[in-house]
């Protein structure tokens, strides 16, 4: 225990979402991520902070980036990890989430990272087991580590976050990334706009403290940074938009539109991208895109969350140096 440990507001047992976190708690996660960034730049990318901890990555939905990012974060902290995907597990045999949870608990694990298609699934699990639970995306509810890595990336780029304007563009209705970003950004004093077809905006979204920007041109003229959401291709079949082609025509983030902006905009995208739909390739690959730095920061943010939930204190720098606390 170091003296500054007392100044760290604890996160609680689980990280379910950012709606319930304070600005101070969010800053602790971001500040804890800073020294962990450096671990991934080393030749030997490993510190012993979570040595002896067992972590289950429980993925009920397909994921590449988030699952691998968590797994790297866990391994770089020296935790023992097991990946469970629903294919080939007892879940595909009809086991309920509560039974899965109890069985994991019976194996005396320390943490669970859960990705699930149903909103509330992470909280459901967290309420029923003593292990720490980290939400890696639950339905349309929250994806807290994605928003945290987005904000860490914005902070890297802009330094000060307060007063910044960030427009979240696309399918807000079905997006857990949008919800987590809205909570997190507004708590840190960022002005948040949302832009998308009205058929893809949730009811009463303004009540979350955001400005609705009707057209993508409005968002580009207003914002300092755009967070461009993936448009799920099945939204077209479900009748929310007429076609991907028209979506790109009306709401796509294109170089032509960005060139008419009064200033250069930083472009974020949580991935995976649909090039030529919500974002054009020359924007995604262009000089203002921070899409790959987002991915790099994802590992550091997840290391920070794992470390803090495992009881890590403010002695982060020591942990990052490889000293056990």
């Amino acid at each position: 225990m170091t003296a500054d440990a007392t100044a760290v507001p604890a996160l609680g047992k689980d990280l379910i979402g950012l709606e319930t976190l304070s600005a101070a708690q969010i800053r602790v996660i971001l500040d804890t991520a800073e020294p962990f960034k450096e671990v991934s730049e080393r030749a030997i990318k490993k510190v012993p902070a979570l040595r002896g901890k067992t972590i289950v990555n429980l993925f009920f939905e397909a994921s590449t980036r988030t699952r691998i990012s968590f797994e790297f974060a866990e391994k770089r902290l020296s935790a023992d990890t097991v990946n469970v995907a629903t294919q080939g597990s007892s879940v595909s045999k009809g086991e309920t989430l509560v039974d899965t949870a109890r069985n994991l608990e019976a194996m005396r694990i320390d943490m669970v990272v859960i990705r699930h298609g149903a909103s509330g699934a992470a909280k459901f699990l967290g309420d029923r087991i003593e292990s720490n639970v980290i939400n890696a995306g639950d339905g349309k509810h929250e994806h807290p580590t994605q928003a945290l890595l987005d904000i860490l990336t914005l902070r890297d780029r802009f330094g000060e976050l307060a007063g910044l304007k960030v427009a979240i563009c696309g399918d807000i209705l079905h997006s857990r990334v949008a919800r987590s970003n809205i909570w997190c950004l507004t708590k840190l004093g960022v002005e948040v706009g949302v832009c998308g077809p009205p058929s893809l905006l949730p009811r009463e979204v303004e009540a979350l403290g955001v400005t609705v920007l009707p057209r993508i041109e409005d968002a580009i003229a207003w914002a300092d940074a755009l967070n461009v959401l993936r448009l799920q291709l099945e939204r077209m079949q479900a009748g929310f938009i007429p076609s991907l082609r028209e979506y790109n025509r009306v709401f796509g983030v294109t170089r032509e539109r960005l060139e008419r902006a009064p200033k250069d905009l930083v472009i974020l995208h949580p991935g995976p991208m649909n090039r030529g739909v919500e974002i054009d390739s020359d924007v995604a690959d262009g000089p203002f895109s921070v899409i790959l730095p987002q991915v790099t920061n994802g590992v550091a943010v997840r290391m920070a969350v794992l470390y803090l939930l495992a009881g890590g204190t403010g002695a982060v720098a020591a942990a990052a140096r490889g000293e056990t606390s």
Binding site: T96, K123, K140, R203, L208
Partner: protein, 429 residues
């Protein structure tokens, strides 16, 4: 049969507009005397009712008793006992059983199960369409002949306007209402709760108020077209209340019910993904709750009905999206209604008894709902001020799915008498 003398209570009988201290004598399954100083033969059972209300037994027009098909959740017998414990002397059982109650044999089965149980009366509601599939009308004449008191495809709306029109027309032959579950499925599909700020925050697919109101409007228009009697189940939105009010003003034969949860709880209750707050129609907004209460006051909403919907705890112990809709309500309806309608000054006790008994009997054309001499001896004695804490593990229902567990309710049935026989007595519990 031993006569029963209920002595010294506050006797409320909305059917005759009376409310005051009196004794009630029950003999041979009928009400034989009401008044002061009624004397019973020696050997009569005496129920001392000082401080309590003596009223016509409560009648619930909308319950799900799960038998046949899901007897692990509820049976006619356990449901009828739960009803009696809640002060109900009669309930109407919806036909979404397995198999569906869409023929006279199925109706007869429920009638005989209810007779065997000998608790609250159970009146079957027949299906509007075979298998509740919305394709072919059920044989209303045979359903009624076997004991059905109404028809409904509850759980599902009667989807096509043509089928609803036909049902309303044909039901006139038998003088029965067509009870509809109002939901535009194309708007509601996949929804798990009310569409609003809370669904936005929780990331759950919402069911807009419009999904209910579109069907309410359609049904009222079709009732006008056909002259049939449409009964609208579990109304939940302010827009529905307004549509019904206008329909009634124009003399259209529309009646409506509201559940205790829709006049006591709001969508904020879904916070924390509590699956005991998941029902269809969903819990709505405070303004909707207020409109339902006002609708009950001015008679736009005719009756309180529980929509008692038992589910196994395993089924509710799920992700919110995957959990089934519905809660049980027979044993909490009176306590919620007194707490949230009477104690809040919305309804007087006589008005509440009218909404929970007299008017229910009238709109479904059932016996009961009155303490008139010669009427069936279906009576409830309840304490209108008793505060009690809901303990789901003490329910007579087989299921425990209630959002009121641990809540303090006001008002509780002490004796429930059906056909002149005490079927529930709190003092012996």
């Amino acid at each position: 049969m031993t006569p029963i003398l209920i002595r010294g209570g506050r006797v409320i009988d909305p059917s005759r507009g009376t409310d005051g201290p009196a004794d009630v004598l029950l003999e041979d399954g009928r009400i034989s005397a009401v008044g002061r100083g009624v004397v019973a033969d020696e050997g009569a059972t005496i129920i001392e009712a000082a401080g309590k209300v003596v009223a016509p037994g409560l009648i619930d027009l909308h319950v799900h008793l799960r038998e046949p098909g899901q007897e692990d959740l509820e049976t006619v017998s356990t449901g009828a006992m739960a009803a009696a414990a809640g002060g109900f002397t009669a309930v109407c059982a919806m036909p979404n059983t397995d198999p569906v109650t869409d023929n006279q044999a199925a109706v007869g089965f429920i009638v005989s199960q209810a007779q065997r149980a000998g608790k609250a009366r159970v009146y079957p509601i027949g299906a509007v369409t075979l298998g509740q599939r919305g394709e072919q009308l059920a044989e209303f004449g045979e359903l009624v002949g076997a004991g059905a008191v109404a028809v409904s495809d509850d759980g599902k709306p009667v989807a096509t306007s043509h089928m609803m029109r036909t049902a309303l027309e044909y039901a006139r032959t038998f003088g029965i209402p067509v009870a509809d579950h109002c939901e535009d499925m194309s708007l509601a599909q996949g929804g798990a709760m009310h569409e609003g700020l809370v669904s936005t925050r929780l990331g759950l697919k919402g069911i807009p108020a419009a999904a209910e109101e579109i069907m309410v409007a359609r049904d009222i228009i079709l009732a006008e077209l056909t002259g049939g009697h449409v009964h609208l189940c579990h109304m939940s939105t302010r827009g529905s209340v307004e549509l019904i009010r206008r329909g009634k003003e124009r003399g259209i034969r529309v009646t409506a019910e509201a559940t205790p949860h829709h006049f006591s709880l709001t969508h904020e209750r879904c916070e924390h993904y509590d699956t005991n707050a998941k029902m269809n129609p969903p819990l709505r907004e405070a303004a909707d709750v207020e409109a339902i209460r006002r609708g009950l006051k001015d008679g736009t909403i005719d009756v309180v009905a529980s929509d008692h919907a038992p589910h196994h705890y395993d089924a509710k112990e799920r992700e919110f999206d995957l959990a089934p809709n519905g809660i049980i309500g027979l044993e909490t309806a009176l306590g919620v209604a007194i707490r949230d309608l009477v104690e809040t000054g919305v309804l007087s006790l006589p008005e509440l008894v009218e909404r929970m008994s007299t008017r229910a009997a009238r709109i479904f054309n059932l016996p009961g709902g009155t303490l008139a001499v010669g009427a069936p001896a279906d009576v409830v004695v309840f304490d209108p001020t008793e505060r009690w804490v809901v303990r789901p593990d003490a329910f007579y229902s087989k299921s425990r799915n209630t959002p009121y567990g641990g809540a303090t309710l006001v008002g509780r049935a002490h004796q429930t008498i059906v056909r002149g026989r005490v079927v529930f007595d709190l003092s012996t519990v």
